[in-house]
Symmetry: C2
Subunit: 415 residues, 2 copies
């Protein structure tokens, strides 16, 4: 009961997140060696330096003629430069001879520059005529080539610690011959679903009074997308000893525990008791809608979240709290790239300021009208999963801010 | 040679994409049954309807008392309504008795409403006193409950065809008891790397004149992220019969073939010959930078791309052409959510308009200054992978548009 009457102080979402993040232990995640084939979207554990110069030799970027650039200075259509043609450089072979001043060699795109050459004249700016090359356009030193080590120097940092590996990062690693690397192990996220009334999704005939588990699906998929390994610890009835047993098992084998349910006040009390018996409650109650009854704490150096039971609240709480904490546990460095993920849209309906000083997370569906992007609030209690399925994202209205009018532009965070 | 001198007509990127998309066969992808555990980010093959009402009974959303709302009309602190207390409804059980007018039953959050009740009075608005309930605040019919079928009605469409499954969609499916579903099979994307000078990334000692394969890593990771299954068909030298053999093998077991390389003009000619011998070239040369030498066509109803060899060009061409085509082959419906993925930033340096009427894809790195987001152009030839590793995204400057000035705001497409 106490809860509903506003037990404790509901903290702001910002304060709640700050409390968990600053309570996280200053320990780096475990690392593991991973093959490049499995490294996409994983987090780099130590700065990776290039083991060699890339490219390993100076390469031509065009089909043309390797020359000493000085021999072409001043050349033009009307006054071509004449250079002795020394021979041809083949693909995938060391240049078989050096170039001296006054000499040129034919070279393919990607071919290895001979010693003595410092530029490449493009094929269409030269003509071979009787052992001589007629060059009609000058080149500057360094033109039309990539120098040895220009992409990466031996020993130079290639990918920084905490970086989340993208396709092009894997390409750079492959290019320097790195096919296995030390990555941070993915944090294990245990998920405990509570509630006497919750049946597994696979139950074909629901008994009267039962509903199916949905939250373990939302949470495990969100944990996976945020870089974690989800472990479902099962569904536990509203019984403290049973819950305590499940919690201790979860804690022993994971890096973070999520307990959801608390459709009944009793479960929330149990979760609070579990945390305070083994560690410390950091907050109980957040000034947000949905998600108010949330609580969190640290037990044995691991974050434990008591999430509300309503499907929409679970998703919002994960996005706002669990995801940033999980990324920290994963060793992921913050990136300005993380700011992508929103679109600007105009509200098709006004939304209120929200009573009680709570930050509102309003689900919206996007649609197009007159070439513009619009956001339609998806109304309905947070107990309905359909509000999340029909929504494309959320608009956040911070506590204390006025509501928004029809036609006003808002940032929609896509989910 | 012809290529470099501008063989054929370079088409605009928009025209190029239109030609491939309209040449795609009007055949739906294959489907397969997939367990819900493996369904995240996969594409729904047929509209999924709810097999039952969800929730399966009318539930209370609060701890309180189930009543006939009419019995509470006009109730207040000073003039409470008095209702007979009939008993308690337990969690996870059918309500054991109906409610008549003038009767109330205690009910927990999530509990099943008894017949005859149409609203729930919150615990804090009522007191039990000697067999009677004193209600100090009225409730409207339907208040504090979720009706049977309110989340989904039996037979009602839950998830539409072509939808890419998000965490909350899986939750909705689980909630209605669906744990296996028909999804479109992921398209198989074959990747052929060409070039006499290309060595596998795992080669420990590079022979002179050789460089390591990078593009197969970029392409397979990008194909995976776009919903495909990547198959590396290996590295093939600049030899037409060998390439033809690899191409025919690839075509027989995949839905799309990517041939990269063409660092030499010869390979591009080979790719064009392969396509025109077996099918139809749709374009050869695109007015874009990087990516100009790109070509594509259809062979046996499957799209075939000849991608440039430069690492940055490969990534841009994939993003602009291959990804949208792959998503179509995957059966994915377009969504306004796809518009997320850009951030607004101000250019730290002006960029030119780009000669020759080509659409420019300028790589940029993001940084913060004075609380604002800035984009710094990452310069360097598209043959350097470092330009992609150091970049956070690209700015697109369409052909014919003027360049952009320092300080101007641009949309940065994150990659």
């Amino acid at each position: 009961m106490k809860d509903m009457l506003g037990r404790g102080e509901a903290v702001s979402p910002e304060e709640a997140l700050k409390r968990i993040v600053s309570a996280l232990p200053d320990v780096l995640p475990k690392t593991e060696n991973v093959l490049i084939e499995d490294a996409l979207d994983r987090i780099v554990a130590h700065e990776i330096a290039s083991p060699e110069d890339m490219p390993p030799f100076t390469r031509s970027t065009v089909d043309g003629y390797a020359v000493d650039a000085r021999d072409t200075f001043g050349a033009s259509e009307t006054a071509p430069a004449y250079i002795a043609f020394k021979g041809e450089i083949l693909m995938a072979q060391a240049a078989p001879f050096p170039i001296s001043r006054g000499e040129a060699a034919r070279i393919p795109t990607g071919g290895m520059l001979p010693e003595g050459a410092d530029a490449v004249v493009m094929l269409e700016h030269a003509n071979e005529t009787g052992g001589m090359l007629e060059v009609v356009k000058p080149v500057a030193p360094g033109e039309n080539l990539i120098k040895r080590g220009e992409d990466a120097r031996k020993g130079e940092g290639l990918i920084s610690k905490g970086h989340c590996l993208r396709p092009q990062d894997l390409a750079a690693l492959a290019g320097t011959g790195i096919t296995e690397m030390a990555l941070f192990s993915r944090p294990v996220v245990s998920i405990i679903i509570t509630g006497d009334e919750i049946a597994p999704a696979g139950e074909t005939e629901l008994k009267p009074g039962f509903v199916r588990d949905m939250n373990s699906y939302t949470l495990s998929a969100m944990a996976k997308k945020a870089g974690g390994i989800a472990v479902k610890e099962g569904i536990v009835g509203d019984d403290f000893p049973l819950l305590k047993g499940a919690f201790e098992r979860a804690l022993s084998r994971s890096d973070m525990v999520l307990i959801t349910g608390g459709s009944s006040v009793g479960t929330r009390d149990y979760t609070e008791r579990l945390i305070s018996e083994g560690g410390k409650v950091l907050f109980h109650g957040v000034a947000m809608k949905p998600g108010k009854p949330m609580l969190a704490g640290m037990v044995e150096g691991k974050p434990v979240f008591g999430l509300p039971g309503h499907p929409a609240a679970v998703a919002v709480c994960f996005d706002v709290f669990v995801k940033p904490v999980l990324r920290r546990l994963a060793g992921r460095a913050g990136s300005l790239r993380d700011r992508a993920g929103t679109v600007q849209a105009r509200l098709s309906k006004g939304v209120g300021s929200g009573a009680g000083g709570r930050t509102q997370y309003i689900r919206v569906a996007l649609f197009e009208k007159d070439g513009g992007l619009w956001a339609e609030p998806v109304l309905g209690p947070s107990g309905l999963i359909r509000t999340l399925v029909h929504a494309d994202g959320v608009i956040i209205i911070p506590a204390g801010r006025p509501g928004m009018n029809r036609g006003e532009e808002a940032a929609v965070r896509i989910f």
